[in-house]
Each structure stands twice: as structure tokens, then as C-alpha cells.
Amino acid sequence: MNAFKRRAFLKFSASAAALSAGGCASTLRSRGRVVVLGGGFGGATAAKYLRLWDPSIEVVLVEREPEFVSCPISNLVLAGFTGMQDISRGYGALRRYGVQVVQDEALAVDAAKRTVRLARGGEISYDRLVLSPGVDFIFSELQGYEGAMQAGRVLHAWKAGGQTVALRRSLEQMPDGGVVAISIPLAPFRCPPGPYERASVIAAYFKQAKPRAKVLVLDANPDLVSKASLFKTAWKDLYAGIIEYRPNSRAIGVDGATRTVKLELDDVKADVLNVLPPQRAGDIAVKAGLLTSNNRWCDVDWRTMESKAVKGIHVLGDATLSAPAMPKSASMANNHAKIAAAAIVDLLNGREPTPFKILNTCYSFVSRDEAIRVSSVHEWEPGQGTLIAVKGSGGVSAARSAAEGTYAWNWAKTIWADALS
């Protein structure tokens, strides 16, 4: 932007702000400041909707990464069916809504003083805090994992980014006839159908580029934890002899030097190790004292997303202790964000929040073009004090199809835009 254009832009921004303030806010006084930690599907959506629904609220979004990289669709990057640039988006557009986007890392939360300490930006105070920290990994449950990961001998690629690129490179370099082992922890974990989608699309890549290569799925669970029948049908129809599935195979360690996954009963060697460690709420949730369940997840009031452990802090997305039949998915994080945004607007305006009805839709690719889907609708049930799946609603795809594949891409582009555009 040259100097003149920049001036014109600033002038216009100022007039847009004036229009916004004069046109709709009954008062120019801020109703309070909300700090949002984490700019993923939950946090970015919350920041945008808070400003949409009450522009008198000051919203600061703190995100440590320079851009958003989507976990949904990232398995297609591993298969070479799309690129990192296609699943990445900037945070710039959120500024149009008046969200202050700060690239920084939250180190600590003081819930009594209502402040967050940032790595670079000092302390910032809040009236309400929104935590959307995603997951972090419990490396201690896998002996040798961290060392092997630092040596580049094992990858999780369960947060889209550098590890996604590295796993794609490993798969490209793997010889035809090689084996990639995908190890899955006990549920619950981020994106229940994700590991099976990953196995499917890597198999699709092998079928075309390395026909003698194999995908070995080592699942700690007794069966696929999501869309089991649809995945199994796809594997039988499309990838017989390529995907081998072993249930009840919980990893307990990794030997990077010999590229071995240690299971409870035996050891499995492979050419590429993709071991997904057990997961819990992200580190900042631990530091803020929000873990309530199994020392892993954050229990919330599903009418407001407010933590049951610490008042004034709302927790979104994968970090929450899921309500019954609710997956840790991007669609759910998006909806959690809207519950929290509506509740915070109500609370800061002295109104009682009202319960929300939300829906989930998750697509999984089983080949380059074909996808399968699961959907559900969840509503507040006062007797049980939680969100429950509405009887008779929801379900899975009748069969895999290219139509669902098209809708999967449309869903992704739309939910990215709903969070960031």
C-alpha cells in the first residue's frame, strides 16, 4: 500500500468506524473488554461474533501463529490432493469487525485479578476471558516419543502446520513397498473420524503412486470410533490389501532409532511413524486451573460455555469435556463460540443468557473426491443440565459420494469464512 492509498484507507476506516458507532451503538462507552486466547475455529469465531452482536464490546484476540491453518482438510495435504496454501487463511479480515488481533502467546491467567500475562505484550486485563486453546499432547504416556519427535523419527501432524508438511515429505520419500503406521489413542481425542480419513486418503495416494505400499492402522480402541461402517466399506471396496486395521492396539512407546511403535503386547516396525499421542486441553487451560475431568478436559456450563472451575472464563472447542454424543470437531467449536458470544453479550448487558440449540456436521474424505459425513443436532436439556442430541435427528451419509466430497469442500470454505472473513 503506498502512502496515499494508505491515508485514504485510514480515512475510510475511520469513517466506517464512525458509521458503525453512530449507526447502531446506543452509547459509545465500551461495555467491557473480552480477551480471546486462541485463534482457531472456536476463538476466531467468538471474536468475530462478539463484535457482530455487540460492537460496544472491546475484543482482543491473542494468537501465537501468524496465520490460521485448518486441521480439517489437512489430511488431503498429506495425500498430495491439495496444498498448505489452500488450508491457510490470514487474520487480517477480523480487523474489519473491530477485533484487535495480537500475535503473542498467553503465559498465565490470573482469574482473581482478571488479567492475562503475555510473552511479549505484558499484562492485559479482561471483563470476560474466552479460552479456545485446542489440545496439547500427553507425551509422558508414550515412552521415547518426545526424543524421537525431536529427531524427526515420529510425527503426529495432529495440529496442522509444520508437521503436516513433514509427514507429507516422509510419505513422498517412502519407497514403494514401505509401510506407514498410524497409531490412534483411546477416545476421546480431537476429530474422532480424522485418523480413519487419514488412513483412507494416504491409501488413495499409495494406490496411485506406490501400489505396493501399505497403511497399518494401530487403534487403541476396540473398533473405529466414528463412521465405522462407512469407512470399513470404503476400505474393502477401494483399499483391499493396502490398509490393514488392528483394533485394541494401544501404543505405549516409540523407538525412533529403529522406527518401532511399542504396543502393550508386541512391537511393530514401519518406515514412517505417525503416532497420535493421547490429548488433553491446551496448556493455558492447565495453567489457568480449568481441568476438571480426568486431569484432561474442562467442564463447562453449556448455556454459556463458562468454566465450572473458574468464573469469568469461557472455554470452547476441543478443550471442553464434551457433552454426550458431541464430537471434538471444528463445527462444534464454531457453535461453542456462538453460545459463548451470545452469553457474554447478554451478561455484559445485564441480561440472563438463554440456552442455545446447535448442530454438528463433519465430513471425511475416503478418496480424492468422495466423502462421508456425520451430523447431529444438540439442545439444552434442563433436567440433565447439559446439551443432548435431539432424538430422531442426525445420522451419517447413506453411502460415500462425490456429492458429499463437494459439500465437504464447501463446508470447509464456509466455516473458514464464518470464522475469519
Binding site: 458503525s20 447502531c24 460492537p55 474489519r96 442455545f356 430422531g392 435427528s393 459439500y407 464464518d418
Partner: protein
């Protein structure tokens, strides 16, 4: 860029005003945005823009999805989660938004 800024400013104005009158419809409709876009404005050409859709048309489509009269890939399963009253609420909300 300017048009988009203006759009954002107008949007930021329109939604909370309407929302103050009827946050329950606003909240019910917000969940649709994961596929149909923020404020019912489709983000891709393959999905319906719900904003500005005639109220009776949208309500009857949702009922037809729910009752199995209109085939669908996903909407038949989603529509079953909503009551007649909620379908009317959604239809009225989206009909009142500018396309």
C-alpha cells in the same frame, strides 16, 4: 476493499439491532452459518443463500426436508432436529435479512 469495509460496518450495525429484538431467532439461525455463511450469505456458489429467502418458501423447504418429501444429502437429518415453531422462527429470521 472499501465496499467490503462498508459491508462489514453495515453488517455490524444490522445484526445487533435485530438481535436485540430477537436474540433467540438470531441464535437459532447462527448455527446454520457453518454451511450457509455468516448472516445466511453463502460463501460458495454450491450452497443456498438463506438471507432474503421468502419466509413461506424457506419454511416449507425445511418441513419437506424434515418429512422426507425433499431428498437431500444432509438437510433431512438436520431438519428432524427442529420443531414447527423453530422452523417458522428460522424462516422469519432469514427472510428479514437483506440478500
Amino acid at each position: 476493499m472499501m465496499l467490503r469495509l462498508l459491508f462489514a460496518a453495515v453488517l455490524a450495525c444490522a445484526m445487533p439491532l435485530a438481535g436485540a429484538q430477537d436474540s433467540s431467532s438470531r441464535n437459532l439461525a447462527a448455527t446454520c452459518a457453518i454451511c450457509h455463511g455468516t448472516g445466511g450469505q453463502a460463501a460458495t456458489k454450491d450452497l443456498a443463500t438463506l438471507a432474503g429467502m421468502p419466509r413461506d418458501h424457506l419454511a416449507s423447504q425445511l418441513r419437506d426436508f424434515r418429512d422426507g418429501k425433499r431428498p437431500a444429502t444432509v438437510m433431512h437429518q438436520i431438519a428432524k432436529g427442529y420443531t414447527d415453531a423453530q422452523i417458522e422462527q428460522l424462516a422469519a429470521w432469514f427472510a428479514a435479512l437483506k440478500r
